[in-house]
């Protein structure tokens, strides 16, 4: 091998200008180095975050007006069906507020996981031209989830102000309890990113199956999570099973933090934390060992 190493004639410059040396090898980078590299390129995250979020109004006539319109129309219809017609329980909180808050944070989880799955595939026009650490893309996939969550929260705020004017009652906890909602929100994002570590590799393979599978899982998961109903409305014998759902505890934490109505169980919180750690730890190892190969599929 060494005899095949051909070196050039005397260089014009003579010396290497920078001590910044990189060694490219076939083996995976390693989870720790991959995270460190993503941190080095963190400046790219806002670019991709906007790129992902802008998909919400790309190729439309109404443009960004769709951002408030889509959730507003969806909430109105579903509140009419579940709240007015089916009389779904909401623990004394107006169903509009109950539903809008629940869906807001469900969107945070669901959209983040969905865009995490598609993060590499959606960025292929960049990845084919220049190196970008793929963990940056996965991290940026939080942005559409945050955007939809924010819009739903705004709609919920409108409802809160409406009921403040009509019922003269503020259905919002202002105080330290809000921190509980923040923790719940963090857990949801953490779970979505942990799952994205797995699904993004499959999502990069140039087929639509992974994202459709994620959609179907989300569809079922939505009804298994206390989003449109409170945990207390579930028959007691099923509540234990429901608590095993790693999304139940964060959702109840958020409700308890925001409107003071929720059933947070320590066992549920532990299940959520363990799930995130296990899926995230092994997901990072899987991502590290697999994502480079998936680049050739783009």
């Amino acid at each position: 091998m060494a005899d095949a190493l051909a070196t050039s004639a005397t260089p014009r410059g003579g010396t290497v200008r920078s001590p910044d040396t990189r060694v490219i090898r076939p083996r995976p980078l390693g989870p720790a180095r991959r995270v460190a590299e993503a941190w080095q390129y963190r400046g790219l995250a806002p670019f991709f975050a906007f790129d992902f979020a802008s998909k919400a109004w790309a190729n439309t006539w109404l443009g960004w007006w769709w951002v408030p319109l889509r959730p507003a129309l969806s909430i109105i219809v579903r509140v009419l069906v579940f709240g007015t017609i089916l009389r779904a329980p909401s623990g004394g909180v107006p169903y509009f507020i109950f539903f809008a808050l629940g869906v807001a944070f469900w969107e945070l989880f669901g959209v983040t996981w969905y865009f995490g799955t598609r993060s590499i595939e959606l960025s292929k026009r960049y990845l084919k031209r220049i190196y970008v650490p793929r963990l940056v893309l996965l991290t940026a996939s939080v942005s559409p989830g945050l955007m939809w969550c924010g819009v739903h929260l705004l709609i919920a705020e409108i409802g809160i102000f409406y009921y403040l004017a009509v019922d003269e009652k503020l259905y919002l906890n202002l105080g330290v309890n809000l921190l509980l909602a923040l923790v719940g929100m963090t857990l949801m994002v953490g779970l979505a990113l942990a799952l994205g570590l797995w699904s993004s590799v499959f999502g990069a393979m140039g087929v639509r199956d992974p994202r459709w599978i994620v959609r179907q899982i989300l569809h079922v998961w939505f009804y298994l999570t206390p989003v449109i109903y409170p945990l207390s409305a579930v028959p007691e014998r099923f509540q234990g099973v429901m608590s095993a759902n790693p999304l139940t505890a964060p959702m109840e934490m958020i409700r308890l933090g925001l409107v003071g109505y929720g059933d947070v169980r320590m066992s549920g919180v532990i299940i959520t934390l363990v799930t995130i750690l296990v899926i995230g730890f092994f997901g990072l190892r899987f991502f590290d060992s697999s994502e480079a190969r998936s680049l050739d599929e783009l």
């Binding site: 200008r17 076939p26 390693g30 590299e37």
Partner: protein, 456 residues
């Protein structure tokens, strides 16, 4: 793919900006589908189960079925292809290296590995300095609504250069691109040509140490192209290393100190630009390995033995892509057969024969494949570990053609290669209780076919 920063001290005065050693790159065809499912719907055309299984796992050993009747030919191009093979070279700092070669020779793949767009399959690349890919679509990394300054910062982020450092060079970028009058406007105000100038200026003025360019290295009108040439020359004097691949030989001759000629993923020659271009344009070159008689036994152009027919060469390689003459019993190997099919469509099936100490081992492709276009095809047979017992083997290939009138021999290449297998049992040392090998034993191998001139 790993891209490490060495933990220890770096010798910044080392003369080589790029070191490539034992670099190979293998591409896989498009991702396998669950073909058995598509049988039940209006999806893709049904495919043989063997193909679906082989797609799902390239290491699967296909069954050897001599019954050709009613079999669907596997699609060409849905296979593993070596785009680069055992490349080793170095590029000194301040050198402009031109990479030339025919389509499919591996130029772009080499640049893609250097810019980390694709991981190498084997080998190591050492890059000393900041690497900046100069791609025609660099404007695609910019945001048209943003100012020129913000776009310089944006490109710097992609290059991994600190933004503060990039911002300090905005004036130089704008000045070089001759866009002073647009300095405070968004990039959307620039024409297409101005955008190209701005992109080039950004790439060069961010002071990369290594510039990697595929096809495009100078942009704009004649005046600006001249400025590009001067700037590249000036930066090269200061140590900028450029690797540039293109089919524009005049540009290579003008800009490059040296050239590298690639063919079928291998280095044919490396040397003075004019000499390499002469070799390339006059054709008839062979890879170094071929010239040394280590690869192929491919007949000289124009002097083909009619008995060989379309079979140009056959050779055994390790799984890392190195040509081998020795193989450990526990190692896997690949036999690659190069077919030159002058006419299409042609339905062909290859049979590999390995004459060893215990007789002849034969393996045939489970089904013929149909070449829809004339050209060079690479038929690969994967030998799992333990396939061959110890001993010296001589390999030969027979190509059969299939027409409506039946099948006939297109050509054969005898003693195309030889390999010494060691580390396993030999027939003489095998247990007396073991069943005797039949004299003509058939091997179960996994096969693939690819157009060798369509490597990405």
């Amino acid at each position: 793919m790993s891209c490490d920063r060495p933990d220890g001290p770096v010798n910044a005065s080392a003369a080589l900006a790029i070191e490539v050693e034992g670099l190979s790159k293998r591409y896989r065809g498009h991702r396998p589908r669950l073909a058995w499912l598509s049988r039940f719907g209006p999806g893709d055309e049904p495919r043989r189960r063997d193909d679906a299984v082989a797609d799902l796992d390239d290491d699967v050993v296909g069954s050897l079925d001599d019954d050709d009747e009613g079999e669907t030919a596997p699609p060409v191009g849905d296979q593993l292809v070596w785009a680069l093979r055992d490349l080793s070279f170095g590029v000194a700092a301040g050198t402009t290296l031109g990479v030339i070669g025919a389509n499919g020779s591996g130029k772009s793949t080499l640049l893609r590995v250097l810019t980390r767009l694709t991981p190498p399959t084997t080998g190591t690349v050492i890059l000393r300095g900041r690497v900046a890919p100069l791609v025609p679509s660099l404007p695609g990394l910019m945001q048209r609504r943003n100012s020129l300054e913000r776009n310089v910062a944006q490109v710097a982020r992609f290059y991994g250069i600190p933004v503060d450092e990039a911002l300090s060079r905005v004036d130089a970028v704008v000045e070089f691109a001759e866009l002073e009058e647009h300095a405070d406007e968004p990039a959307a105000a620039l024409s297409r040509g101005e955008m190209q100038r701005f992109a080039f200026a950004t790439a060069v003025k961010l002071n990369p140490d290594i510039l990697i360019a595929d096809e495009t290295i100078v942009v704009g009108d004649h005046h600006f192209q001249q400025r590009c040439r001067e700037e590249l020359g000036r930066q090269a004097q200061q140590g900028l290393t450029v690797v540039f691949a293109t089919h524009q030989l005049d540009l290579i001759e003008e800009l490059c100190d040296e050239a590298l000629l690639l063919d079928a993923g291998r280095i044919v020659e490396r040397g003075a630009t004019a000499e390499i271009i002469r070799q390339y344009t006059q054709g008839g070159y062979r890879t170094k390995a071929q010239a040394a008689g280590r690869i192929g036994d491919e007949p000289e152009s124009g002097a083909a033995d009619v008995g060989n027919g379309p079979v140009r060469s056959a050779r055994m390689y390790s799984t890392t892509g190195r040509p081998i003459t020795d193989l450990h019993h526990s190692e896997e190997a690949v036999v690659e057969i190069v077919l030159e099919l002058p006419e299409a469509p042609a339905t062909v099936r290859c049979t590999l024969a390995l004459r060893g100490p215990a007789g002849i081992r034969r393996a045939a492709q489970p089904a013929p494949f149909t070449a829809t276009e004339p050209g060079r095809y690479l038929v690969s047979a994967y030998l799992p570990a333990g396939t061959l017992e110890s001993g010296t083997y001589s390999g030969g290939v027979v190509a059969l053609g299939f027409t409506s009138e039946g099948r006939h021999q297109l050509g054969a290449l005898r003693d195309a290669f030889s390999v010494d297998v060691f580390g396993g049992t030999t027939r003489a040392s095998a247990s007396a209780d073991a069943p005797a090998w039949p004299e003509k034993r058939q091997l179960a191998l996994s096969w693939s076919v690819a157009r060798s001139d369509l490597v990405p």
